[in-house]
Subunit: 142 residues, 2 copies
Amino acid sequence: MVSNSDSSGALAQRLSDSGLRSTPQREVIYSVLLKKRDHPTAEDVFARAKPEMPMISLATVYNCLETLVQCNLVRAVNFERGPTRYCPNLRPHAHFHDEQTGATHDIDLPAGVLDQVKSVLPVNFDAASVEIIFRGKARTET
Amino acid sequence: MVSNSDSSGALAQRLSDSGLRSTPQREVIYSVLLKKRDHPTAEDVFARAKPEMPMISLATVYNCLETLVQCNLVRAVNFERGPTRYCPNLRPHAHFHDEQTGATHDIDLPAGVLDQVKSVLPVNFDAASVEIIFRGKARTET
DNA sequence: AGCATATTTAGAATGATTCTAATTCCTTGT
DNA sequence: ACAAGGAATTAGAATCATTCTAAATATGCT
């Protein structure tokens, strides 16, 4: 059987690259993330996956999300100690956390900005990754 | 009685500015943070405060740390969902999280870098704060 | 001194996540 | 097709950091 979409094909590919299996649960979790990119929590994902797959368990949602993060198909994002949120945006981007609404917005980072930021590091610090989080309020037009 | 040091004087001042009281517990917690600036967790602070004040409770440590954060004398720092760490460094700085050792290093930010970073935001986003976290490994010379 | 309010305290409760152990589901070798 | 072995899923228990609760203490003020 041929993959039914680019994204699930990509998922199957990434999984097998890592020696992991493509499963219905992983497909559903990933499709849920792609469908509504509002940085859902594991509980959110659980709720959205259930209609499609009523027997899925919360533990599986956690397992699958962890797997997707390992495969670099999804980024985990944390604000303070709130529940982890998941984001399928793979471009380099920062996050803007709206303190009024709780909404999270992706802020694409122009090439070079990350390098500029990394340039503040003393030579003996070797950064594998940089995370930038903005907090404030956003005027999203009505 | 006159304050016994600049820092506790500063603490008493900041507290009363916010309509809060200076208490022995708050003084001890703050002095613990100033004494060893290694980004301790609440449990770490609790352990370090106990010798000086054996009856202090963990709940009080949480309360006092929260109070100090409210007064802007201390910053709370989070890495993923690990326990919150506390940092009395008030200069604008980023954090470098060493993935091998778990150590956290302050990275002072030259004036202007935060503005450069903020400049990537679309006009309708108004950032009250920016947080920058590096992850990687640090060669701290022996 | 007496009162109102802040603060501290111990322990219970919470919430997100991880762990455990049992089951189910493939995949591969025969 | 069939069995073995490993991978994945599942329900529920366990964990961990933190917050809440209610009672006890301390403090500042009139």
